[in-house]
Amino acid sequence: MSGAGLTITGRAAPHSHAGSSVDRIMLQVCLALVPATVFGLYLFGWPALLLWVITCASAVATEALCLLLQDKPLSRLRDSSALLTGWLLALTLPPWAPWWIGAGGAAFAIAVGKQLYGGVGQNIFNPAMLARVALLVSFPVHMTTWVQPDLLSSGAPGPWAALDIVFGGGIPDGVTGPTILGEMKTAQGAGTVSELAAGSFNWLDSLTGSTAGSLGETSELLVLLGGLWLLALRIISWHIPVAMLGTTVLLAAIFHRADPAHYASPLLHLTSGGIMLGAFFIATDYVTSPSSKTGQLIFGAGCAAVLFAIRAWGGFPEGVGFAVLFMNAFTPLLDRYCKPRAYGRNLRGRPTVARTPARKVR
């Protein structure tokens, strides 16, 4: 397996390795998504499970097809990056969306968002978010039809009814409802945000996730848990999540203090929508975020600024996808201009000068 095409003696040091691997990293990220996913599936029932399976399967199948078309080894599938993309996309979809949303979105994510750029590690935009944004723009109705989580009630669809929902007739009447961010958008127009906060917004529900929303985004708590696990494993660093959440809180706090009738509290911003998933799983995507720590801080703050702008003033109720994609576009520039300071050089890359000239005068 001297895969580098060199003889053994031609291999440069090191002759040892930490033992990390891409496969393991991707798998661990998937594992970190499990709690939030399981809860989402429990909350939204059979149609959600079907949608999740379809989306993941479509992602993997598209990846396999693209690899075949490019004569690349199918063993690349083993890194499960396609599975992760499909999984993340599924978590951001409305839980009872029709099958073609999931299948088409995942295919778009892999084919256009990833393989078109040369496959894993080469893409510029986060594939899952790209697909979500493309779907949102193309099918605004399907992408904003949310169901109220009421699995425990007798009205929950069984497996057969679920098949009908996902593959056929669509969502029956009477189970849909707005997300808290959707309500906020309406309230912003009317200047009744403060009443909303007092009324239908319950931060505990919002945090634990028993609210209307995307398949796996509703429970900010469980997503946060997975994210913290990744942090503990050192798979992600704290820079992007902290910068993103911190900036959101800061901006929300400033505007909320200034005008509570039009701007929601930081608590609402932090506990609703896809912000946790975005901060811990999507913005931290290795490929599309900067490598340097300074770059990551700016990246996270930028994501939060755009996210807040869209939530507060934009036409869409949720802006995580747009925000992350927007900052993805800046990643090459951030990588270029936020290099870490090199040893023996100042911040501008010039060699440091010894404080005292050490040349001996003889």
């Binding site: 895969g3 580098a4 095409g5 060199l6 031609g10 440069a12």
Partner: protein
């Protein structure tokens, strides 16, 4: 109609005069120093391996784009890169330059006729009458003029053989 013509005429005249004035103020000395710059970079050994009559015609050809910067074998990759940079050509779009060649004298055949070192444009061959000649590697551009001059046919061109001092790591092939 008259008004329109008048307005356009005045407008054109005003802008034209302004531009003429600006051209005077921001005038740049017109010359083509590029050919001279390239010529200064070339080995100037007039070896003719590029297919041109000498280094100046080659420089002219490189400047107007009819010859590639890689066309000078003695200059090698280093020269090609500098010329490409001067001309604003992406070096990666150019093909591989020929590997630098070195002349070597087969000592068993050399008669010490001194013809090769008289022909050498860089004085890279040492020796005296009736003595076996040798090539100084650091001065040889591999132009091949000595090959034509040698009556015994004892000079050969070849790429430098790698040894521990000039060996370097190959480029790793990664999937």
């Amino acid at each position: 109609m008259f008004m329109a013509t008048l307005v356009l005429t005045i407008l054109g005249f005003t802008l034209g005069s302004a531009l003429a004035f600006a051209a005077k103020v921001f005038a740049v000395a017109e010359s083509n120093p590029i050919v001279e710059e390239i010529e200064a970079m070339l080995p100037n050994s007039q070896c003719g391996q590029c297919g041109f009559a000498g280094c100046k015609p080659a420089a002219e050809a490189m400047a107007d784009g009819s010859a590639d910067p890689t066309c000078c074998p003695p200059g090698g990759r280093a020269l090609a890169e500098r010329v490409a940079e001067l001309l604003g050509i992406d070096i990666n779009t150019l093909g591989e330059s020929a590997a630098p060649q070195l002349a070597s004298i087969d000592e068993s055949l050399c008669t010490g006729c001194t013809r090769c070192y008289k022909a050498c444009p860089t004085d890279a061959i040492v020796g005296a009458n009736k003595q076996i000649h040798a090539v100084i590697k650091s001065a040889c551009t591999g132009c091949g003029k000595c090959l034509d001059a040698c009556p015994e046919d004892c000079i050969h061109l070849g790429a430098e053989t790698p040894d521990l001092h000039n060996w370097q790591w190959p480029k790793p092939m990664v999937a």
